[in-house]
Each structure stands twice: as C-alpha cells, then as structure tokens.
C-alpha cells in the first residue's frame, strides 16, 4: 500500500521533472528547424540550456523604480507555469495529483501567470512595458472565448472536464474522422499560437517596438529573473504541445494502473510526439509572416468561429444531448 503510494508520488515527481527538463530541448528543436529551413546553420539543439545557465550566472540589474512585485513575479510566474505544465497528463493519465485541476482551472492558472507578467511589465513605468501588457491582455480576451468553446466541445464529447478523463475517453473510443473534433483541433492550435506568442501572433525573436508583445513585457528583466521568465515561456510551449497531444493524439499514453514498463512506453511516445510537434511548429513559423496587431482579431476570430461550428456539429451528431 505505502509502496504503491511512494511509487505514485515518485511518478508524479518524475512528470514534473521531465516537463522541466525537456522544455529547452523542444525550443531548441524549433529554432534549429526554422534555421535549417531558412538555409542557415542554426544554433545547436542544446543551446537553450546554455542560454539559461548563462543568464543564471549573470548579475541582475533592476530599475530604480521597480518594486517588490517586479522582483518576486518571475518566481511566481515560473512556479504557476510549472505546476500547470505538470498537471497535463504526459506519459500516463491519472497520476497522483492530476485530478486536482481540470481544464478550466488549468487555463485559469495560466491566466494568473499572464496577469502577473503583465503587472510586472507595468511596474517599471516605461512605455514598452505598457505596450506589451496592453497587447497581451487584448490577445487574451480574444483567445479565452475560443478556449472556452473548445472545452465545451470536449466536455460534450467526453462528459468530463478532467484532462485525464478526456484522454482516457479518447484512448478508449478512437473518434475516426469527426469534423467537430477536427475543427476543435484547428481552433486549439490557433489558441496555442496566440498564447505562446508565436508567429503569426508575436515574434519571439524580435525587439522592434511595432512588433513586440511578450518581449516588451520582459524588456527590463535580466540575469536570474530573465532566466526564470524564459524557462516559464519554454514550459508554456511544452504545456500546450502536451495538451494537444493529450487531447487529440493520446495513443501510447499509459493508463493509470500500468506499471513501469507501461510508463516507459508512454514516456517514449510522449517525447517523440512532443519533438514532432516542435518540428511542425518550426515549419509553420517559417511558412507564414507575422500579422499586424489589429489583424489578430481576424486570426483568433477564426478559432472562435471554428470552435462554435464544432459545438453545433457536436450537437448534431449527438442527435440530441446527453
């Protein structure tokens, strides 16, 4: 009994650790794929780890007008994103604490991290921070309704909002070619692009005022604080990739009762799918240009419309309703 508990506890801890360790690798893969497609050599795959280590070694310079909120926000943002990323089932569903938060709570945890980051952006009192914060909150107002519609579609299909429950449902009943779920998938991909500040919503590599959103909010951070924020954004990327995998491609995930061998298979499957997703993201970012900020409502609006059509189609196929 207690041995089971200890094993479960270690598995949950292992998931938290894996998610943290693989995040810079995923980002490295994205950057390398983008560079190679643009016929450049590109940074080595492990460069993101080295960048984080470099930032940790540097001194942190803080503006005179910054407050305790500015100094403590990176730790809280990192902790919130890490806990959220650890709650998404990765190699096994139904781990010890996966039930503590469902999709709604997960989205809200990420919203809390985003609110803290926006506040930190406003803290120093420069115009760049204001630009980043205001645009970030505006994008959030576009993405959250679409996310809600996706949650609603999944709840109609699977009857629950617990992530592990949805994953188990889709493992048990492969859904074939259902239009409503395909539309939800496209919708979630668009929402993920918006939330992770990826092209076409935001360019993670730019520092031009006209195009910055996320980078503008963290402009004043340096040293270990910047390392934590960078790590948080890597974790957020892994979180969304993991969410897409868990909801729409959960084959290979071990059920809760599987033993170590089941978990090992699940882990390999998860890492493979994650890296495949990173490659696809790299290809996508190279194929499309960043959009003007006020064209974003059109782009994220597509996610909303698809999400709504998905629900209407889900109502249709249910015949009537549960």
């Amino acid at each position: 009994m207690t041995r089971d508990l200890v094993v479960q506890f270690l598995a949950q801890g292992a998931q938290m650790a894996f998610v943290l360790l693989i995040a810079p690798l995923a980002v490295g893969v994205v950057r390398r794929v983008k560079a190679r497609l643009m016929r450049r050599q590109g940074p080595p795959l492990l460069q993101a780890y080295r960048d984080l280590a470099k930032l940790l070694r540097k001194e942190s310079v803080i503006a005179e007008s910054a407050s305790w909120l500015f100094r403590s926000a990176p730790y809280l943002i990192f902790a919130l994103t890490w806990v959220a990323a650890a709650l998404v089932p990765s190699f096994a569903s139904g781990l010890m604490f996966n039930w503590a938060a469902d999709v709604v709570a997960l989205v809200a945890l990420l919203g809390a991290a985003r609110a803290l980051l926006a506040l930190a952006g406003m803290d120093v009192g420069t115009s760049f921070g204001g630009i980043g914060s205001s645009r970030e909150m505006m994008i959030a107002t576009l993405a959250e309704p679409a996310m809600m519609l996706i949650v609603l579609t999944l709840a109609i299909a699977a009857g629950t909002t617990r992530l592990a429950g949805v994953a188990d449902f889709f493992i048990a009943e492969p859904f074939g070619v259902r239009v409503s779920l395909a539309l939800s998938l496209i919708s979630l991909v668009i929402v993920a692009l918006a939330e992770n500040a990826r092209i076409p919503v935001d360019n993670p590599a730019t520092h031009l005022e006209l195009t910055m959103v996320h980078e503008a909010m963290v402009l004043e951070y340096s040293g270990r604080h910047l390392a934590l924020i960078e790590a948080a954004s890597h974790l957020k990327l892994v979180l969304y990739l993991s969410l897409l995998i868990c909801l729409f491609a959960p084959f290979g995930m071990a059920p809760a009762t599987a033993g170590l061998s089941g978990w090992a298979i699940g882990l390999v499957a998860w890492i493979a799918k994650l890296l495949a997703g990173a490659v696809l993201l790299g290809v996508w970012e190279v194929s499309i240009a960043k959009m003007r900020v006020f064209r974003l409502p059109d782009f994220v609006g597509v996610a909303f419309v698809f999400g709504f059509i998905a629900i209407l189609l889900a109502f249709l196929t249910r015949g009537v309703f549960a």
Partner: protein, 645 residues
C-alpha cells in the same frame, strides 16, 4: 463638538453587525427558522418577520460588509473628515438592509426596501454642493422609484385577487402561469435596477462613486446583494415551480451586462467608476448563474441546479468581500492623494505598501485567478455552463456555447481591466505631485482592508467548506446540494457533480505552487549569481525621466478600444496632424457613444418631457372646458356600463 459626539456610531455599528452576523451564522448552520409578527404597519397585514437559512446567508454577507465599512469609518480623522450628514444615516442604512432580509410580507419588504433606498440616497447626496453629485442623486432617485413601482406590481401579482400579502400565503397559493411570468419580469426590473442589470444600470456608475468611500463599498458590495436576495426570494421561493423559459431573460440580460459592464469599465478613467462598472459585471454573472439554476430546476436536473445556485450564492459572498476591499482601497487612495483619476496616480506601491498589497489581493481575486476566492465561484459557474448542453429545450442548449463564450470574454476582460487599474494606479512612476507625496492610511482602515484580503485568500482555499455550509440553502432552493468535501480524494476538494467529472482542489494547487516557488527560489539562489544592482530603466536605451512617457490608463485601453469599441460604442479615434512646418501641436481625440444611454434614458426622458409639455395644456383650461371633460368621461363610463352588462 460635532466630531466626538458622533464618533461612537462606527464602533456601535460594527458591534451590532458582528452580533447579527453570529446569529445568522448560527441559523444557517443549524438550518432552523424563527418568525414573528409585529403589530405595526398596515392594519390588516401587520409586519411579519422571518429569519430562514436564505435570509441568514445573505445576512452574513451584509453584516460582514458592514463590519468592514464600520472599521474603515473608525479610521476617519475626527476633526477634518467626520460629517454629521453621514454618521446618523450609516447605521440606518445597515439596519434597513438587514430588515429587507428578514421581511416576511410584502409591506415589510417594500417598506424596508424604500428605507434602504432613501438612506443610501441621502448618503449619496451628502456632498450636495458638487453638481455631479446632485445629478447622480437625482438619477438614483428616479431609478429607485421605478424599481419600487415594479416591485409593487410584482407583489401585487403574487398576492392575487384575494390580497394575501404575507409570504406564507403566497407560498401556499402560487399564481397562474401567465401572472407568474409577469411577476418574474417585474421582479427582474425591480431587483435588476437596484443591482445594475443592463439596461437599468446607468445610475450605478454615477451614484456609487459619489458617496463616501465606505458607503460606496456598502452600496456596491452589499446593497446590490440585497437586490439579488429580492430576486432569489421571489423567483425561487414565492413563485412556485418555474417554467423553462423563465431562465432566458436573466441569462441573456446577465451575459450582456457582464460583457458590456466591463467594456465600459475598461474605457473609463475614474477609479471609482471603474469599480462601479465592475460591480455591474459581477451582478450580471450572478444573474446568469441564477438563470441557469432556474433552467435546471425547471427540467428537474437537481445536481446541475445545485451547482448553478452554489455558483450564484458563492459569488454573492466573494464579490461582497473583494468589491468592498477594492472600494476601501480606492478610498485610501483618495484620502492619500486627493485624486480619483487614474491618470494622476502611479507609483503608489512604494508610498502605500500595505494598501497596495491588499488591493493587489482584491484585484487578483476579482479577476477570478486561482487560488483566490473569485475563481471558486467562477469555476462553479463554468461547470454549470458546461452542463447546460444537456438541457432539452433548443433555445437553452443552443444558447449555452454563446453564454460560455461571453462568460470567458468577461473573465478575460476583467483581468485586463484590473491589470490596467492596478498597473496605472500603483505601479510605474508617479504621474502627479499628489501621487508622489502620498502616505498610507490609518491602521484601523488598513486593518479593515487586511481583514477582507485575508477572507479572500481563505475563501479561495476553503471554497468547498463554504459550499458545504450552503447545503441547507441549496436544498431548499435547488432541490439538491453539492457533494460534500468528504466525498473527494482530499478533505478540501470542491466537487461539482461527482469526482470523476469535475473537481478543483485549491489547497493542493496552492501547496504545489508554494512548494515550486520555494524550491525555485532556493535552487536559483544556490546556482546563480545573487548580486542585484539598481540602475536606471533600460527602456531600449532611451530612458526618459519624465513620468509622462509611461502608459496612461487610456493608452492601456487602446487595443481593447480598437477591437471592441467600434462594435459596442462606435468608438472612433481621430488624429489631426498639422502640416509640416506648422508648430502647432497635433490633436488626438477619442469619441465614444453610449448607445444604451441614448436609447433607454435620453430618448424616453425627452419623450416624457415632450408629453408632459403637451399635457400641460390641461392646466389652463376654462371652467366650461373642464365641465366638458367631466361630462364626456361620465358619458363614456355610462356607455361602457350599458354595453357590457
């Protein structure tokens, strides 16, 4: 002389509120009832009073708000700030609100309701020398009168032709379906106007900020809840079994109120008006939850009705806490800087550290961010919306994705609005001399805010305990209750339908986040360079010492204005640039049109004035013409009698 004589008012109010709160808590937890009849009031009816679990719950909400406001009031400077206009009316206002809750017949209810309105009106008009204040008070009086007339009709419909005005009689003789529908609409108008439901909302952002800060906290945090109590009492207790379509007006109006209230809030530049518009949004959310509870109850889905009702009641409690906290904080800012406009504040986190910390808790709580209390009721509301596709009526289950999307939009806009408020008022650099010279408020006022902040945190972690305490009320109103805290994996998890379906465990998540942040802090400090240097802001290499270059409240709102303002308010930005060589400054202007004011207030106002001017002719007729009028009326009545008998 005047000061010390009235200073006892606040401590006494606090004490009385504590006593009443304890009584209410005891009644709620024990599930009992107490009733009595006083021989005052109308001869045939008397004055019935009853304290049941619903009244007890709302009593806890109200008395909690009164305690916080009284504590805050105790902190006012005896010589400079106490006014004889406010002190006597404050306990009257609190007493009237408590009286509404325990009223058990129509006369007692309406009497207490009017007393509450008039007391708060007198408090609003305390600064009568300010023309804005007078205008706000005038509009408030008109809207309160409209609300009371609507409630008169509602109670008249409930009493029926037999005239049974006591609630006991009404419960045993529920009205006919058509009459019940009319009563519901009238109750929605009456209680909705007091709560701020669109389109009856326009008085709230004018009146709530005009009152003194602790009274604003009471009006926004507590009086709106009395309005909700009125609606719950009529719709869930007195009207009998609901029809399914009764749910549609509260849901539709509530969702529109939530989104539009926040769009107004995001564009406004006065701190207290932003908070008043945010109150409108939260009242909208509560009405959506109540509408969903009606829909589920009409379809005998008791578990879902319990979830929706729990969402509504918990949001009532949570909102009273964080809205009172935010208004007290706004009062603190007003006291410290003398300014209410967001564009004149800034950098207050350095000058007023404790107020800033408490206000931060309130701002994060109202944005429904875990693990604070706002998220608990928001989570329950989302679970109720997610269960709505199971409703059989087409209008209801097709509306559910639209309502879900609007609620998510409201949540995101609330976060944007309060990041804007907190970021502009407390963070950054001071934009005016008053903000640079601010100081923190007296300890008693800080204690009031601190107590509310503590309640927000506690309510967030112990949400399931609060939901369990609500079980007697939920059983009575919704026919079911939430699964208790014991049926989940841990003692404090909040379960919506059953643990396999949806579960939210705030303490575990908070624990994980705390452990993660501590671990990160320790590891990072071990591994990294610990030195920190202070320097000027980087600002991409062009730091500007003038605080005017930082974002203002309207700059923060600009993306939202561009995206949503055009649809909702016909918002237009125009920039007039002089030609090159001309040294005149460029002009930037924003025009925002309030369609709701034009359609529902200005146009009917003009119509009423026009009509009354035409009818004014009747004042100046000759004697012969008056006789003609009387003769014609008499002839018409006689002909009607001749035809119909």
């Amino acid at each position: 002389m005047r000061g010390p004589a009235l200073a006892f008012v606040y401590p006494l109010s606090a004490l009385a509120a504590v006593v009443l709160g304890v009584v209410d808590l005891q009644v709620l937890l024990s599930g009992g009832e107490a009733a009595t009849r006083l021989p005052i009031g109308l001869p045939t009816i008397g004055f019935h009073l009853r304290l049941d679990t619903l009244s007890a719950f709302f009593g806890i909400v109200i008395n909690g708000g009164v305690v916080a406001a009284s504590l805050y009031g105790m902190g006012f400077d005896r010589v400079k700030e106490l006014t004889p206009r406010v002190e006597p009316l404050f306990p009257l206002f609190a007493a009237a609100m408590n009286l509404v809750l325990i009223a058990d017949d129509a006369y007692a209810f309406l009497f207490s309701w009017e007393l509450m309105s008039l007391a708060s009106w007198a408090l609003v008009v305390a600064r009568h020398t300010d023309p804005e204040c007078r205008r706000a008070a005038h509009l408030y009086l008109v809207m309160a009168a409209i609300g009371t007339v609507a409630l008169l009709f509602a109670f008249g419909g409930l009493a029926g032709p037999a005239g049974g005005y006591t609630f006991d009689t009404v419960r045993t003789h529920p009205p006919q379906p058509m009459v019940a529908a009319l009563v519901l609409m009238a109750a929605l108008v009456g209680c909705g106007s007091k709560g701020g439901l669109i389109p009856l909302h326009a008085w709230l952002p004018l009146a709530h900020p005009a009152a003194p800060s602790h009274v604003s906290a009471l009006m926004s945090g507590v009086m709106t809840k009395v309005a909700i109590y009125g609606f719950v009492r009529i719709a869930f207790d007195l009207l009998g079994p609901p029809a399914w379509w009764w749910a549609l007006p509260p849901i539709v109006l509530g969702a529109m109120t939530a989104v539009l209230g926040l769009l107004y809030a995001v564009l406004d530049r006065d701190l207290k008006r932003v908070l008043a518009y945010s109150t409108i949004e939260n009242v909208g959310l509560i009405f959506v939850a109540l509408g969903l509870a009606l829909a589920f109850r009409a379809n005998a889905q008791h578990a879902a009705a319990a979830v929706a009702m729990a969402a509504a009641l918990l949001h009532v409690l949570n909102h009273s806490w964080f809205k009172s906290l935010l208004f007290l904080g706004a009062g603190a800012i007003l006291h410290a800087t003398g300014r209410r406009d967001l564009d004149g504040l800034g950098g207050l986190i350095h000058r007023m550290p404790r107020t800033a910390a408490f206000f931060l808790v309130g701002a994060l709580a109202i944005s429904a961010l875990p693990p604070l209390n706002g998220f608990v009721s928001e989570w329950l509301l989302f679970q109720a919306v997610i269960a709505a596709p199971a409703l059989p009526q087409a209008a209801l289950h097709f509306a559910s994705p639209a309502i879900g999307a609007m609620l998510a939009l409201a949540a995101a806009l609330a976060a944007a609005c309060f990041v804007r408020v907190y970021g502009t008022a407390f963070l950054g650099r001071p934009r005016s001399a008053e903000a640079a010279g601010a100081h923190d408020v007296p300890l008693v006022q800080q204690a009031a805010m601190g107590g509310l902040a503590f309640l927000c945190i506690l309510g967030g972690l112990m949400g399931s305990v609060l939901a369990a305490a609500l079980a007697p009320v939920l059983d009575k109103l919704a026919g079911g209750a939430l699964p208790g805290p014991g049926s989940g994996p841990t003692p404090f998890s909040l379960i919506a339908f059953d643990p396999a379906r949806s579960i939210y465990d705030a303490p575990i998540i908070a624990l994980f986040v705390a452990i993660a942040s501590l671990t990160t802090l320790i590891v990072v400090h071990r591994l990294s360079e610990r030195r920190t240097r202070r320097g000027p802001a980087w600002d991409c290499g062009f730091p500007d010492p003038s605080p005017a270059t930082q974002y203002t409240a309207s700059s923060f709102a600009q993306p939202l204005r561009r995206v949503y303002g055009a649809a909702a308010f016909a918002a237009q930005e125009t920039v007039v640039m002089p030609p090159p060589g001309d040294i005149r400054p460029a002009r930037f202007s924003v025009v925002v049109v309030d369609h709701l004011w034009r359609a529902f207030y200005a146009a009917p106002g003009r119509a009423v004035i026009g009509l009354s001017e035409r009818l004014n002719v009747l004042q100046f007729l000759t004697i012969r013409r008056y006789l003609v009028l009387m003769f014609v009326t008499l002839v018409i009545l006689l002909s009607i009698a001749a035809v119909t008998t």
